[in-house]
């Protein structure tokens, strides 16, 4: 899912445009090359619909998710540090990331698949890698922004301390920067994991042109179950996915969240550090202790502890060797060359899009725009009252929170056929039915943020509103709506970005052997993928990315500024 990026200063419009073109260019230039190289392959793995196969499939999907997460984490740490320490790079890295997070995940699909399958023609490696990389593209962006924010917020005193003690970069990273960023990074990891799962049923099984690609996993299990109309297997698939989400939450995220609380910089002395049952259990286990101590020793040997500087000379920071600089310039030059080449190929590719196709794209974009607006508006209509109600009762909030989190993490496209069946039952079509499908995946972000904002309203202000007897509409208008507005805007940004992405799967739904299609930009992208119509696909992805970035820059950024200026509580 997209995340807000209030911190990137508005770059000039041409930078945005250039970055959009460049990003899409690379993807489709690779497609072009791959198309020339590809050979007929049979990449569809047989999927066994028996329940006994499910644990294995779950394991495969999990493995892909975690491998992708490992890449995301590494990418986030490296790229955010690069953007932070290299002022010149920052100016194009940040806007680039902002655009990249607006490109629909499925827009990356054909390029990645064709390229990687071409690189590994005789094994499934390429396809697996493509699948992992698609999950990666759904995870990585908000993590980069989160870690970049953390780097910016490292207190100057800590950096000074690091210099005084002669910290090398890995000490600075391990002892100062990572602890500062731990909490934000962790929260974003949870969001990212959910974002990575969202398209699972598509990334694991899809058609591209005349080819059928499939890797074993819950997502492909589900899509086969849907294709064959096997309701029992569909239910099993959904249950398995739910179990996976809950297990990850309890065994991985929850202990990490508790653990990361010790990195709160503003923690006052004496506040007890919380632990979970699992940590206490690990703490008592001799084996775990031995392993931890062993790891500690190994780390210290590989990365020696900092030595205080012998004389008054500070660390020779900033004295980059001439060789390093040359390599850096070469790399940068190579990247620019690649971009230029990609841009040219993209222009050539787009040249094949006919005028009527362009008309089609823009008309579809208009329809999708209406759907996105409707989905966000409907989502807002119910999540705002419910979110406020939950947020203002701490007990209720802590009880409801896991359910909302679950709903947000569950890959909604898996149950699209069920919802669509309901829509058909009441006589609707996908033209309208796509709206609830879009909502299913995105409304939770509004609910989350509204509830958090409502919970943060100072008690005295609530008392004051009670004493003023603000009731009914005037209570909402004068008190509650402004109070939750910053949270609401954050929710909107995430939900709207996600909604554009979701149109791709919501406007084009496979159930059984039938395909339901609404007219919209998302459906157009899906169909272009299915048909292997790459010029049109490139054009459509380009337009969608441009719309998302454009709306971010014009509407959301302004609303965010307004909300931060007016509606934040300060004392």
């Amino acid at each position: 899912m997209n995340s807000s990026s209030a911190h990137t200063k508005s770059a000039p419009l041409w930078v945005d445009a250039a970055v959009i073109v460049a990003a899409v260019a690379i993807v489709f230039a690779v497609v072009e090359v791959a198309l020339e190289w590809r050979q007929p392959l049979h990449n569809a793995v047989e999927i066994d619909l028996s329940p006994w196969a499910l644990p294995q499939y779950a394991l495969f999907s999990l493995a892909r998710g975690w491998i992708a997460y490992a890449f995301s984490l590494l990418f986030a740490l490296v790229v955010a540090s690069w953007a932070f320490y290299d002022v010149r790079a920052r100016r194009f890295v940040l806007p680039a990331l902002d655009v990249l997070q607006s490109i629909p995940v499925l827009g990356f699909l054909p390029g990645l698949v064709l390229a990687l399958v071409a690189i590994f023609p005789h094994s499934n490696t390429g396809l697996e890698l493509a699948c992992v990389l698609m999950i990666f593209t759904g995870q990585v962006w908000n993590m980069v922004f989160s870690y970049y924010d953390a780097l910016r917020s490292v207190p100057a005193d800590y950096r000074a301390l690091g210099e005084l003690y002669g910290f090398k970069w890995w000490h600075r990273f391990g002892k100062i920067e990572l602890p500062t960023g731990a909490q934000g990074l962790l929260y974003n990891s949870m969001v990212s994991m959910a974002g990575g799962w969202f398209f699972l049923s598509i990334t694991e099984a899809f058609k591209l042109g005349d080819q059928d690609f499939r890797v074993p996993g819950i997502g492909s299990y589900m899509s086969i179950a849907i294709e064959r109309g096997d309701v029992r297997a569909q239910i099993l698939g959904v249950v398995a996915m739910a179990v996976v989400i809950v297990v990850i939450d309890r065994l991985v995220w929850w202990p990490l969240v508790v653990w990361s609380r010790r990195f709160k910089l503003d923690d006052f002395a004496g506040a007890g550090v919380e632990t979970t049952a699992m940590q206490r259990w690990l703490g008592r286990s001799r084996a775990a202790q031995a392993i931890m101590q062993g790891c500690g020793r190994w780390f210290r040997r590989v990365l020696p502890d900092p030595q205080p500087p012998v004389s008054g000379v500070l660390a020779e920071a900033g004295s980059q060797g001439g060789l390093g600089r040359t390599i850096y310039r070469l790399l940068l030059g190579a990247m620019l060359a690649l971009l230029a080449w990609g841009a040219i190929r993209l222009v050539i590719l787009l040249g094949r899009v006919s005028w009527s196709d362009w008309g089609d794209i823009f008309q579809s974009a208009g329809l999708s725009f209406l759907r996105v607006v409707a989905a966000v508006a409907l989502g807002t209509a119910w999540t705002v009252p419910v979110g406020v109600w939950i947020g203002m009762q701490p007990k209720l909030a802590s009880r409801v929170q896991p359910f909302v989190q679950f709903a947000a993490s569950f890959p909604a496209p898996m149950i699209y056929p069920w919802i669509l069946a309901l829509v058909m039952l009441v006589g609707g079509t996908l033209q309208w039915g796509a709206v609830p499908l879009i909502m299913l995946g995105t409304q939770w972000y509004i609910l989350f943020n509204v509830a958090a904002a409502a919970a943060a309203i100072p008690n005295d202000l609530v008392s004051c509103a009670d004493l003023l007897r603000l009731r009914g509409w005037s209570r909402w208008r004068r008190f509650l709506l402004p109070a939750i507005f910053p949270g609401l805007v954050t929710g909107w940004v995430t939900a709207a970005g996600g909604a554009w992405n979701a149109t791709i799967v919501s406007e084009y739904v496979h159930t059984g052997d039938k395909i339901y299609m609404a007219s919209g930009l998302g459906a157009l992208i899906s169909r272009a993928t299915d048909d292997g119509n790459f010029p049109k696909l490139a054009a459509a992805v380009l337009v969608m990315a441009a719309i998302v970035v454009g709306i971010n820059r014009t509407v959301w950024k302004r609303l965010q500024n307004y909300a931060n200026e007016r509606c934040r509580f300060i004392t």
Partner: protein
């Protein structure tokens, strides 16, 4: 002159319990009877934890009492009290409304012309005319509280409730605002006549009140009601004013610092319906550093409690807590209003850091609660007591204390005196001498 002023707010047999996070409900207020009549200015004074803020919220109808009734003008109060306006410690301004809109909030139902008249009057009263279109974040703390006061006054409330209105302001600004409210009370033409104010400053209490209500803590209850008949505006340097301050000091010292500390902290706890026992004496929630700091501030001289409070620039109740802890450990004695070091106190003051620890350790071991704690650890398997178990035991032994702050206090003293050590990772306490292999 009306012969009997009308009773506005009447608290009848109020007790209030508050349950935090699934714990045993705690008694915040016990059997409070208090009535506010027209022209009363009541100040609520007392140590932290005496339920002052809860009391004022009960009067405003923001909180419903667990037991007893709140009456408003001769009828039981349902919901929020219609004749009460409130000024909050942290202002509670709406950041998205400007000064004008914030102040106008309570009178939105009136015709526009009437609103404008009242607005101008309210803003002029607090001197905010030039700030009408500013937003709260653009003005200083003092100005924010002026907006809070103007917002309360514009409704022309029958009772103005103020919850520590000057506590969040710097000293000089607070002084100015205090004087301005004093002038309003002195101005017979101004409709503001009835007021309830929570404060922790003795001078502030005397400055405003026609009646000072002194509350005692654990559970909160009315201790003494002291009438004040001085005319407004009051001069803190006048002999009459000083006499009342001295009297109030004497009352507070008696209730907070009786000459025999052991007796004062004795709490009788019910075992069952018939039997009672005396709970072990525990320490107030203060740290060793605070007590040692007190010793060096005291030095060789006797000092007056209130002079000390002023010198430390702390709340009276906070100073009293430190004094009590020092007295329990036999380091100071408090005859009357005075504080002086005992011979032991002098010895501790002169000792090296290591000897200080040893002396304090010896004193701590004389306290029942530490005796209990060490015994508890010794009977554990492996001689390790987890935090949860310790809190549970403490709650049984000392049901009148809050388990978490008590736990933290005991932990800080126990660790300082090298009696116990604490394992952060396992949340467990063990005896210091018996320290096991180093933790992970």
């Amino acid at each position: 002159m009306p012969e009997t002023p009308t009773t506005l707010i009447d608290l009848r047999g109020i007790s209030h319990e508050y349950a935090a996070g699934g714990r045993e409900p705690e008694l915040v207020l016990q059997d409070v009877n208090l009535s506010v009549a027209e022209n009363d200015v009541i100040t609520l004074l007392g140590p932290s934890g005496c339920g002052k803020s809860t009391l004022i919220r009960l009067m405003a109808g923001l909180v419903a009492p667990s037991h007893g009734e709140v009456w408003w003008k001769g009828a039981p109060l349902q919901g929020v009290c219609p004749g009460v306006a409130m000024v909050f410690q942290n202002f509670a301004l709406f950041p998205w409304l400007n000064v004008r809109e914030n102040v106008l909030l309570p009178v939105g139902h009136l015709p526009p012309a009437e609103q404008q008249t009242r607005l101008e009057k309210a803003l002029a009263t607090v001197g905010l005319g030039a700030y009408e279109l500013s937003y709260p974040r653009e003005i200083s703390g003092g100005m924010k509280q002026r907006v809070g006061i103007a917002r309360a006054l514009i409704a022309e409330p029958a009772v103005l409730c103020m919850d520590e209105p000057f506590s969040a302001l710097d000293v000089l600004t607070a002084e100015t605002l205090r004087n301005e409210i004093g002038l309003l009370l002195a101005d017979h033409k101004h409709p503001l006549r009835t007021m309830v104010m929570v404060t922790h400053s003795v001078v502030e209490a005397v400055f405003f009140a026609t009646r000072i209500v002194v509350l005692a803590a654990h559970p909160g209850r009315i201790d003494v009601v002291l009438p004040v008949t001085l005319p407004y505006p009051r001069d803190p340097d006048s002999p009459g004013f000083r006499a009342i301050v001295a009297k109030l000091h004497a009352i507070l010292t008696r209730t907070n610092l009786p000459d025999n500390a052991e007796d004062a902290t004795k709490v009788v706890v019910a075992i069952d319906d018939k039997r009672r026992r005396i709970a072990p004496v525990s320490l107030p929630y203060v740290t060793p550093a605070e007590v040692l700091g007190l010793l060096s501030v005291l030095g060789d001289e006797d000092r007056d409690v209130f002079e000390l409070t002023e010198r430390l620039a702390k709340e009276f109740s906070a100073v009293v807590s430190v004094l009590k802890a020092a007295e329990l450990l036999g380091l100071v004695e408090t005859p009357g209003q005075d504080v002086r070091l005992t011979p032991l106190g002098r010895e501790v003051l002169a000792a090296t850091t290591r000897d200080q620890r040893r002396l304090i350790r010896e004193q701590l071991m004389k306290l029942k609660v530490f005796e209990l704690l060490t015994r508890l650890i010794r009977v554990q398997e492996q001689q390790v007591l987890t935090e949860e178990e310790m809190m549970r035991e403490l709650q049984i032994a000392l049901p009148h204390e809050k388990p978490r702050p008590l736990f933290r206090t005991l932990l800080s003293w126990g660790r300082y005196a090298e009696l116990i050590s604490y394992d952060q990772r396992r949340h467990a306490v063990r005896l210091y001498e018996l320290k096991g292999p180093s933790a992970l």
